[in-house]
């Protein structure tokens, strides 16, 4: 018979694992519930039709949504091709190239690097020489955050493509670059798209890199060459203010942002798992 001590230890471990899981889930539920409850109260159609108001006034977040959308799109346009190209290099040459090994290593460091350092880097690069903040600088900062995500997922997706495909194509005399662009990309496309969408979800919510690049703009501005309103910085400014109307708008913006980011995440993971079965 098992001594009591061992049974107790086992039971304690079981309890601990259950408690730990409950602990993690409680925070998730609490945070999401708060965001939904507070945000829903301020969720009105005017959120999407009116601009950011002066203190004490009512309005919406139209210019912020627009600015965020533009910067995220430009970041995708800048970062995705570079990321896919670099990921292709890692996948195709990863085994026998020292450059690929180093780049893979450094890429993973960049993935977890503090985003505020990236923001300062782009400030020194694009804001200081220009003499003013700009939406374009914000887009560059977001592109740098996006880059390692796309590189990593492209690398993984392309590695998963079975070798028989490559060997069959070689046997048919297809040149190497065509193999990659026509065949391997098609085969790994779902993985690459997954990576881009996950990257999109990540950069949509990033605040720190935009603090010193795009700054903010209380008026309507569609120009990437000037400070551009964006959702995370507006939420930051409004939440840290004393005005109740601004708090309400901040929660509404937080709800929309969270719904977008989590919705994208769930959708991507759901379809990825479905595809893998």
């Amino acid at each position: 018979m098992m001594p009591l001590r061992r049974k107790l230890a086992d039971g304690a471990a079981l309890l601990f694992a259950l408690a730990a899981t409950a602990f993690g889930l409680i925070w998730l539920v609490w945070i999401l519930w708060t965001t939904m409850a507070e945000g829903a109260a301020a969720l009105t159609p005017s959120l999407f039709t009116q601009m950011t108001p002066p203190p004490g006034g009512s309005g919406g977040l139209l210019n912020a949504f627009y600015g965020s959308a533009v910067m995220v799109l430009v970041a995708l346009v800048l970062g995705t091709p570079v990321g896919i190209a670099a990921g292709t290099y890692l996948a195709e040459h990863g085994r026998h190239s020292r450059l690929a090994a180093i780049v893979g290593f450094i890429n993973d460091i960049l993935l977890s690097a503090p985003s505020i350092v990236i923001g300062l880097f782009v400030y020194e690069l694009a804001v200081r020489p220009a003499g003013h903040f700009s939406g374009f600088a914000g887009a560059i900062a977001l592109a740098i955050i996006l880059l390692p995500i796309v590189v990593r997922t492209t690398d993984e997706a392309l590695r998963l493509v079975p070798n028989q495909m490559r060997e069959a194509a070689f046997a048919l005399g297809v040149p190497a670059w065509r193999i990659t662009s026509r065949i391997i990309y098609k085969a790994g496309l779902s993985g690459i798209v997954t990576g881009v969408l996950l990257g999109l979800a990540r950069i949509a919510g990033e605040t720190a890199p935009l603090l010193f690049t795009a700054l903010n703009n209380q008026f309507w501005s569609a120009s990437l060459a000037q400070p551009l309103a964006n959702v995370p910085v507006v939420i930051f400014q409004y939440a840290m203010s004393p005005y109740d109307q601004w708090h309400a708008l901040a929660w509404a913006g937080a709800l929309v942002l969270t719904a977008f980011v989590l919705g994208l995440n769930l959708m991507v993971r759901f379809f990825a798992r479905r595809g893998n079965r």
Partner: protein, 319 residues
């Protein structure tokens, strides 16, 4: 995977070279970005380093008006919040990983796993807002008075729990940070727990081990490097976290032994003060702080990667 043949048909050779050049160029760009960030932080901080020398790291000053800056308080805040966050996150993450790999019924594993991963997907500004408006008042009303009352008078740890219960401070920031890094550590732990060869686990079961004994005597020792790597990964993330901490840490350039007092971290100081830094030296001091943060984070993440590679986990999760 076999290397691409260098005997491609001649019509494709130039295109092959071009393609290889483009992809290699993109790969180089990744290196250039990281290197560029490091160099630009060092360059931007050089005025501060020249002015203050090594004393910059040990100085408690922070006086923008008379131009005296020191990194000690932001460094302290960064380290204190990150370490306490780890103390909370590591046991919880291992517990969740144990639950997900061993205890939970199969149909429950994917949904709960995805739920935990959602914690990582929530933007950090949401953590910050929730922390400021919901969690800090909760801590101020229910937790901090209890801590001050029960532990504030004790001999050694007493000074850690003194001060007005305002909710904003090191402890609240550390808890929020801990919650944020749970999914990263859990993800790695879950992967490596699953990767333990079942033959080892089955042998242990055959010898009559309990679940706890398998975890403590087989799984954890086998995955020790990876778990340490995961801890470093969590630490690296915690060190650089900005928005969640900025909301609830209190922006106080103040060094106090109490965990209940407001403080400052490197990332929060930069986020709050950079756009208003009005002298070259002020800006340079903030960039110097960023450089220090970058160096420490780089070393920690390198250590994490090396540990994770040792167990053959060359890929973590693309969070």
């Amino acid at each position: 995977m076999s290397p691409p043949p260098h005997l491609a048909p001649s019509s494709g050779a130039a295109a092959d070279r071009l393609f290889r050049l483009v992809t290699a160029g993109a790969a180089w760009l990744v290196l250039i970005v990281l290197g560029g960030a490091a160099v630009s932080m060092a360059w931007g901080g050089r005025l501060a380093f020249e002015t203050f020398g090594w004393r910059f790291i040990a100085s408690r000053d922070w006086d923008p008006v008379s131009g005296k800056f020191g990194a000690l308080i932001p460094i302290y805040g960064t380290l204190a919040t990150s370490i306490i966050a780890l103390l909370i996150a590591v046991p919880v993450s291992i517990g969740i990983a144990l639950f997900l790999t061993d205890i939970a019924p199969r149909w429950l594993r994917a949904p709960i796993g995805m739920a935990i991963e959602l914690l990582a997907a929530i933007p950090s500004i949401i953590y910050g807002m929730w922390g400021l408006f919901v969690f800090a008042p909760f801590m101020a009303a229910h937790v901090e008075p209890w801590l001050t009352g029960k532990l504030g008078g004790l001999p050694v740890i007493g000074p850690l729990f003194t001060g007005p219960p305002i909710g904003i401070g090191l402890l609240t920031a550390s808890v929020v940070l801990g919650i944020m890094i749970i999914p990263f550590i859990t993800a790695v732990a879950r992967d490596v727990f699953n990767a333990v060869p079942s033959s080892l686990k089955e042998a242990a079961v055959a010898l009559g081990s309990t679940r706890w004994e398998i975890l403590s005597r087989v799984t954890l020792p086998y995955t020790r490097s990876a778990i340490i790597g995961a801890i470093f990964l969590g630490l690296g993330r915690a060190l650089g976290e900005t928005m969640a901490v900025t909301f609830v840490l209190g922006n106080a350039h103040d060094l106090s032994p109490s965990l209940l007092m407001p403080s400052n971290s490197i990332a929060a100081a930069i986020a709050n003060e950079f756009t208003e830094a009005d002298t070259e030296l002020y800006r340079s001091s903030l960039i110097a702080l960023a450089f220090l943060l970058f160096v420490v984070t780089f070393l920690v993440l390198c250590a994490a990667k090396l540990m994770l590679m040792r167990v053959g986990r060359t890929h973590g999760r693309s969070q």
